[in-house]
């Protein structure tokens, strides 16, 4: 699958002249125009942009939920443009860990079973899903609450379960969509610190947000506006109180 050039390692995400066009009635909407970038192993990248900027479209493609109209997007060296629905599903299962704003945990299902869920869709089957799920829950600090159902957990705890679920398949990257959007600021900070520590352990993290102080926890910032990549720069920590 990977056609790695001899010197440089295969980027986790490689976008080249990425375009996405939607047909809305008579009108053609250019959600993304000619976007190119690379994200490498171990990076912590924030993607920012106002609503309607094409940020969500970009995120869907990095998450292998959508395919480009033209240009190329390779995840772990695999060009997603040529994949079928089921191949995309398998790719998501093996290489991407999703974290959502609304957590998206299954109700009335224990934290442990929620974390195990991606493993039930894995092919080939993993040997001991239970043990892996337990390890992931311990990793996010929820070792004592494995049998709790979502309604018995606080928002921050639910998002930790979701992060454990994202980790369970040992993905190449974690894709977080506004992961603190439903949390208060103290809890948000805890979640962002968890991401930072995961990143410190070598996990690649891509986080979509519209808040600058959230993005400030990342080490690289991609800004999207009007479907174009307008900024690609390292984050200067600590963040300035520039914009609201």
């Amino acid at each position: 699958m990977s056609q790695a050039e001899p010197q440089t390692p295969v980027p986790v995400v490689a976008a080249r002249n990425l375009c996405k066009t939607y047909q809305l009635g008579e009108q053609q909407v250019h959600a993304l125009r000619d976007v190119s970038f690379e994200i490498h192993r171990g990076e912590f990248v924030a993607i920012m942009g106002p609503s309607g900027s094409g940020k969500s479209t970009l995120m869907n493609m990095i998450g292998a939920l959508d395919v480009p109209t033209s240009g190329q997007l390779a995840i772990d060296g695999t060009d997603i443009g040529s994949l079928s629905r089921d191949e995309l599903a398998a790719l998501r299962n093996h290489t991407i860990g999703f974290v959502f704003q609304q957590f998206n945990l299954l109700a009335r299902t224990s934290a442990l079973d929620n974390v195990k869920l991606p493993l039930t869709y894995s092919r080939p089957r993993v040997a001991d899903p239970e043990a892996i799920a337990r390890r992931c829950l311990e990793q996010v600090g929820l070792g004592a609450r494995m049998d709790h159902v979502p309604s018995q957990l606080s928002g921050g705890q639910q998002q930790r379960v979701a992060i454990a679920r994202a980790l369970v398949n040992s993905p190449s990257l974690i894709l977080a969509d506004e992961p603190t959007g439903a949390l208060d600021s103290a809890t948000s900070l805890e979640i962002l610190q968890l991401f930072e520590s995961l990143n410190a352990q070598g996990m690649t993290i891509i986080m979509v947000t519209h808040e600058l102080d959230v993005a400030a926890h990342a080490r690289r910032l991609l800004r999207v506006r009007d479907g174009k990549l307008v900024e690609d720069a390292p984050v200067n920590s600590p963040p300035a109180e520039v914009a609201a």
Binding site: N60, G63, L65, D66, R85, D86, A89, A90, R92, N93, H94, F98, F100, N104, L106, A107, R108, T109, L117, P118, T120, Y121, S122, R165, N169
Partner: protein
């Protein structure tokens, strides 16, 4: 996903809304339940009739005086001259292809043994009756033609009568009183079972002449016979022998060439066979009517599954995002539908069996639940699940994960 995981996932989803699950399967429950009850009654009836046919034998004919046809009301019982010993003799002498012919007269009597008594049917019969009815003895002997002609007071007990009056003891050699007339018991008949809703073993057989003079009240002619029973030899065609019999009797009873018979010949086994066919057709008809409610039930399942898919759009989106393939989602919802239907099928099966047993105890109807019908009911409910679960499951599997995740 493995089948076990599909089932576990489906169980969680179904348990989330128990009341809805139960209501959804109600159509299947009623459908399967009524198919079971209908077929249990139908099969039971037809099995009983078949047993009666076997106990009667298909080559036995019964001759009654007068026409008993529905259309021949003017020739009803009593209006025609009775059958007599002369008719019986004419049959014995002139009809070919008979194993035996016997006269018979029915009455009833109170049997008294010591201080036990029992009300039973009395058959006054020629000695040949045993050959005609193919009825072996378990003990003692049957009377012969000489004893019968002499009007001896001997009695052969049916199995039920013997059991009721003597229990385990052997009645042979003892005396019974029939309507206060003492009779010597010379034999006990083997068990023949039920026929036409009557216990054939609740009977005492005595010589015809004895019955005529001692037990049956009024006789219109001195040598009157109630019915004549004949057994056709296996080597002859029953219908041909019957035609011969009718010709002999018309001649003997002086029926004018264009007049209707003043007697009727019946083949009870054939009559029962017709009834059996009718019962089968009727139960098949009722069972297929019940099967329609399975289809209605299936539509209910489809409806609720469509609602469920809509309600759980986000869940479907999530499952797809974390790697569920189209067939994973299809399998999940199909499993749910099939499990719902199977559960309904099993509940319906249990209810249907319960109602059948209840009917059998309350009304005394014979019921029989055949394993084939049980298997068919389970298979049918699973099929309903697959057929009506497919459309909702396919809709779920084709959702766009991006839109599904954003739903609500």
């Amino acid at each position: 996903m493995t089948l076990a995981e599909f089932i576990a996932t489906a169980m969680i989803a179904l348990r989330r809304n128990v009341l809805r699950s139960v209501l959804t399967t109600l159509g299947i429950i009623i459908g399967v339940g009524s198919v079971i009850v209908m077929s249990a009654i139908g099969t039971g009836a037809s099995k009983q009739i078949e047993a009666q046919i076997a106990s009667l034998g298909t080559n036995q004919l019964t001759i009654f005086p007068g026409s008993m046809n529905v259309g021949g009301r003017q020739g009803g019982a009593g209006s025609a001259p009775p059958l007599t010993e002369k008719d019986l003799r004419a049959i014995r002498e002139n009809v070919t292809g008979l194993v035996a012919a016997a006269g018979n007269m029915n009455g009833s009597a109170t049997v008294v043994v010591g201080n036990t008594n029992w009300q039973t049917q009395i058959n006054g019969s020629s000695a040949e009756i045993q050959a005609v009815r193919d009825w072996p003895l378990t003990s003692g002997r049957f009377y012969d033609a000489v004893e019968a002609a002499a009007g001896r007071k001997v009695a052969v007990l049916g199995a039920t009568v013997a059991r009721e009056l003597y229990g385990e003891a052997d009645p042979v050699g003892t005396n019974v009183r029939l309507n206060n007339v003492p009779f010597e018991v010379i034999g006990v008949l083997s068990v023949k079972g039920q026929a036409g809703g009557r216990d054939q073993d609740d009977v005492i057989i005595v010589p015809l002449a004895t019955a005529r003079s001692r037990l049956v009240g009024r006789v219109r002619v001195p040598d009157e016979i109630g019915q004549i029973l004949v057994k056709v030899d296996d080597r002859y065609e029953v219908s041909e022998v019957q035609a011969d019999l009718e010709r002999v009797l018309r001649q003997r009873r002086r029926v004018a060439p264009n007049a209707m018979d003043n007697f009727s010949v019946r083949n009870f086994a054939e009559f029962l066979a017709t009834r059996d066919a009718t019962a089968r057709t009727l139960s098949l008809l009722l069972a297929s009517a019940a099967a329609i409610s399975l289809i209605v039930g299936g539509i209910g399942i489809m409806n609720i599954m469509l609602v469920s898919v809509t309600e759980r759009t986000r869940e479907i989106g999530l499952r797809m995002a974390i790697g569920a393939s189209g067939s994973d989602i299809l399998g999940q919802f199909l499993t749910e539908a099939v499990l719902l239907c199977l559960a309904g099928g099993f509940i319906g099966l249990t209810l249907g069996a319960g109602v059948s047993i209840l009917i059998s105890t309350l009304f005394g109807w014979p019921v029989y639940i055949s394993p084939a019908v049980v298997l068919m009911a389970i298979f049918a409910s699973a099929s309903v699940g697959v057929i009506f679960g497919f459309v909702p499951a396919r809709r779920a599997s084709q959702l766009n994960p991006i839109e599904a995740l954003r739903y609500e």
